[in-house]
C-alpha cells in the first residue's frame, strides 16, 4: 500500500469526495491562494499548509472558493449552503480562530436540526489545525476539542494517523450532521499506509491500536502515537492496551468501558487544557459506570491550566510527554 502523509491523506479524501459528489465545495481563506495576485497564480497556495493543494486546478473557482478574512461569513455561508443542499467543507486554517465565528458553529449549524424540529439537515465540515508543538504560541496552538465536544449537535473528529485522517474525512463529508475536523499540525508530515480507493471510517468507533491486559490508555489525537510508543517500549514488562477513540463526539463509551473492565487500570492522555476536558470525561465515565472494576486510581495526563507558551523549552514541558505516560503506567502496576 502506498505511504502517504497525513496532509496528503486529507487532500486525497477531499479530492475523491469532490469527484464523487458535485455538491461538495471548499470555502476558506487561501485554500486556492493567489487570487488577486499575478496572472496565473490562482491556486498556487492550496491552503497555508498545503492541504488543499491542487484542488483549485481540478475543480475550479466555483468549488474551491477563496474568501476575505471573515470567518463568521465563511462558516455561516457554509451552514447556509448546507441547509440548502450543498456539502461545504469550510477551512478555519487554525482552529484557534473559532472565537470570531463560534456563533455560526454552535448556535446556528449545530442547533438547526433540533430547533427546527428535524425539518433540515446541515451536512458541513469545519476543518482546521490544532495542537501545540510548532512554536506557534498561545493563539495558534490550542486543542479546543473539549469545547466542541461539549456542544450537542456537533460531531468532533480527531485523527491520529494518515489512514484514519482519510477515512474520517470521507465520513465527515458524507455525514449529514455538522462535523468539526481537527488536524494536528505536528502530524501533517507523518506517513502511513493509505489505501488508494475511497473509504469511510464510521464515527464513534474507537480503534484499539494496541491490545493488552494490564493497563488501558485512552489517548486522543497526537497522544495516541505517544501511547503506542510507550506500549511498545513496555512490551514484555507491562501489557498495555491503547484506545484511540478517533471521534471525541460521539465517543465510543462501550469499547472504553470494556477495556477498563478487562484491565482494571486506566490512564487517559489528553493534550487539551485540563479542566472539563476529554480526560475528565473518560475518567468520569469509567467512575460512574465501572467503578468496581478499577484496581487503582485512574490517572489523568493533560497540559497544564495555562496558555501555550512560545519558548520551545516551555512548550515541550507543556505537552504531555512519553515519559509522563510511561511513569503513570508503571505507577499503576506498583
Amino acid at each position: 500500500m502506498p505511504l502517504k502523509s497525513f496532509r496528503e491523506a486529507i487532500n486525497e479524501a477531499l479530492c475523491q469526495e469532490m469527484a464523487n459528489d458535485p455538491s461538495v465545495i471548499l470555502i476558506g481563506e487561501d485554500i486556492a491562494g493567489g487570487n488577486g495576485g499575478v496572472e496565473g497564480a490562482a491556486g498556487s497556495s492550496g491552503g497555508m499548509l498545503g492541504v488543499t493543494k491542487g484542488l483549485y486546478h481540478d475543480y475550479g473557482p466555483e468549488r474551491v472558493i477563496d474568501t476575505p478574512i471573515s470567518e463568521s461569513a465563511i462558516v455561516g455561508a457554509a451552514a447556509g449552503a448546507a441547509m440548502t443542499g450543498l456539502r461545504p467543507v469550510a477551512e478555519l486554517m487554525f482552529m484557534d480562530f473559532f472565537g470570531v465565528c463560534f456563533d455560526q458553529i454552535y448556535n446556528q449549524a449545530a442547533k438547526f436540526r433540533y430547533m427546527f424540529g428535524g425539518n433540515c439537515t446541515t451536512p458541513m465540515v469545519v476543518r482546521g489545525m490544532v495542537g501545540a508543538g510548532f512554536g506557534s504560541a498561545a493563539q495558534h496552538s490550542q486543542a479546543l476539542w473539549p469545547i466542541f465536544s461539549h456542544i450537542p449537535g456537533l460531531k468532533v473528529v480527531l485523527p491520529s494517523s494518515p489512514h484514519d485522517a482519510k477515512g474520517l474525512m470521507i465520513q465527515a463529508i458524507r455525514d449529514d450532521d455538522p462535523v468539526i475536523f481537527l488536524e494536528h499540525k505536528v502530524l501533517y508530515d507523518t506517513k502511513g499506509e493509505v489505501p488508494e480507493e475511497p473509504y469511510a471510517i464510521p464515527f464513534g468507533e474507537a480503534n484499539i491500536t494496541r491490545e493488552g491486559d494490564d493497563v488501558t490508555i485512552v489517548a486522543f489525537g497526537r497522544m495516541v502515537n505517544f501511547a503506542n510508543e510507550v506500549a511498545d517500549k513496555l512490551t514484555g514488562n507491562i501489557s498495555v492496551e491503547v484506545l484511540d477513540p478517533r471521534t471525541t463526539s460521539p465517543l465510543d463509551t462501550e469499547v472504553i468501558l470494556e477495556s477498563v473492565k478487562h484491565t482494571g487500570r486506566l490512564v487517559v492522555v489528553d493534550e487539551a487544557n485540563p479542566i472539563c476536558n476529554m480526560a475528565s470525561e473518560v475518567i468520569s465515565l469509567v467512575a460512574t459506570e465501572a467503578l468496581q472494576y478499577l484496581k487503582a486510581r485512574p490517572i489523568k495526563i493533560s497540559a497544564p491550566h495555562t496558555p501555550v507558551p512560545a519558548a520551545p523549552n516551555l512548550e515541550t514541558l507543556y505537552i504531555p510527554s512519553k515519559e509522563t505516560i510511561e511513569k503513570a503506567v508503571a505507577n499503576l502496576m506498583e
Partner: protein, 321 residues
Amino acid sequence: MNLDKQQLLQAYRIMRRIREFETRISYEFAAGTVPGMTHLYIGQEAVAAGICLTLSDEDYIASTHRGHGHCIAKGCDIAGMALELFRKEGGLCKGKGGSMHIADVSKGMLGANAIVGGASPLACGAALTAKTRGKNNVAVAFAGDGATNQGTTFEAMNMAVVLKLPVIFAIESNGYGEHTGSGYAQGNDLTERSAAFGMAAVKVDGTDFFAVYQAMQEAIARANRGEGPTAIECVAMRWHGHFEGDPQHYRPKDEVKRLRDTADPLKIFRDKVLAKGDLVAADLDQLDEEILTEVTNAVDAALEAPQPAPEELLTDVYVSY
C-alpha cells in the same frame, strides 16, 4: 409596475395575515398563553410582503427574532405557525423552536434567528447554493437596523460583493434596537454604509408595499445578471414594543398613534389600489373576513393542541447517532 389582480390580492393577503395573526398573538401574550419571548412585526408588513411576494420556494430568506411576518410572507402555514408559537405538537418545528426559531426550510424560510446578525452569513450560503448550481435564485438576509452594527452583517455584505452572490440585504429600519434609538447606535446612514461595500443600495419607504416591491424587482434583476448583492433599506417603524410587555419609556408618547394614523402599510396599500381602481373595496373586505376566520381557527386550534410527546426531548439532535 406590472402587478396583476391576483398579485395585488396576494400582497394584501400577506399583510392582512400578518396583522391579524400578530394582533391575536399580542392578545394571547397578554393573556399569558404564549410561552417565552415574542417580538411583533406589526407596522412593518409591507416590507415582508414587498420582499417576498415574488420569491418562489427555491428562493431563500434568513430571518430575525422578529420573524413572524417573514414566515407568513414566505408562505409558511399559519396553523403550523400558531402551533409553533404555543410550542405544541405539530408545530412547524414540533414545538421545539418557538417564536424565535420558527422555520420551514421546505418553503425556503431558513429560520427566525435569536442571534442578532445571525442571518446574513446564512443568506450568503443559500445564495452560494444557487450560484454553485447555476440557478437564478436569490437569498434574502433580513436584518434590523440594530443588526447592521453586528460584525456578521458587515462580513456578509463584503463577502457577497466579493463573490458576487445573489443576496439581497433587506434592512428593516424600524427606529429602534431594543430600547435604544437607532440614531444613537449607528454612526452613519445605513444605505450609504451598505453602498460603501461596493453594492447597489437604496432606501425605500417601508410602509409602501409598492416601493419595496419595486426595489426588490430591481435587486433580483441585478442578481440574475450576475452583478451580486443589493441592499434595500426599508424604513418602517414598529408599532409594538421591542417584545410584548415592553413599557416603551424611550418612545414619544404619541408616536404609535401617529403611526397608526399616517403610516399604516395596509391602509396605504388599500388607498393606493382603490384610488387607481386596480381593486375594489369588496375584494379587500372579503379577504379581511377570510383571514380573520383563518387566524381565529389556527390560534384556537393551537391553544387546544397537545404538547409535544416527552420523547421529543431527545430526537433531532443529530441525523444519525
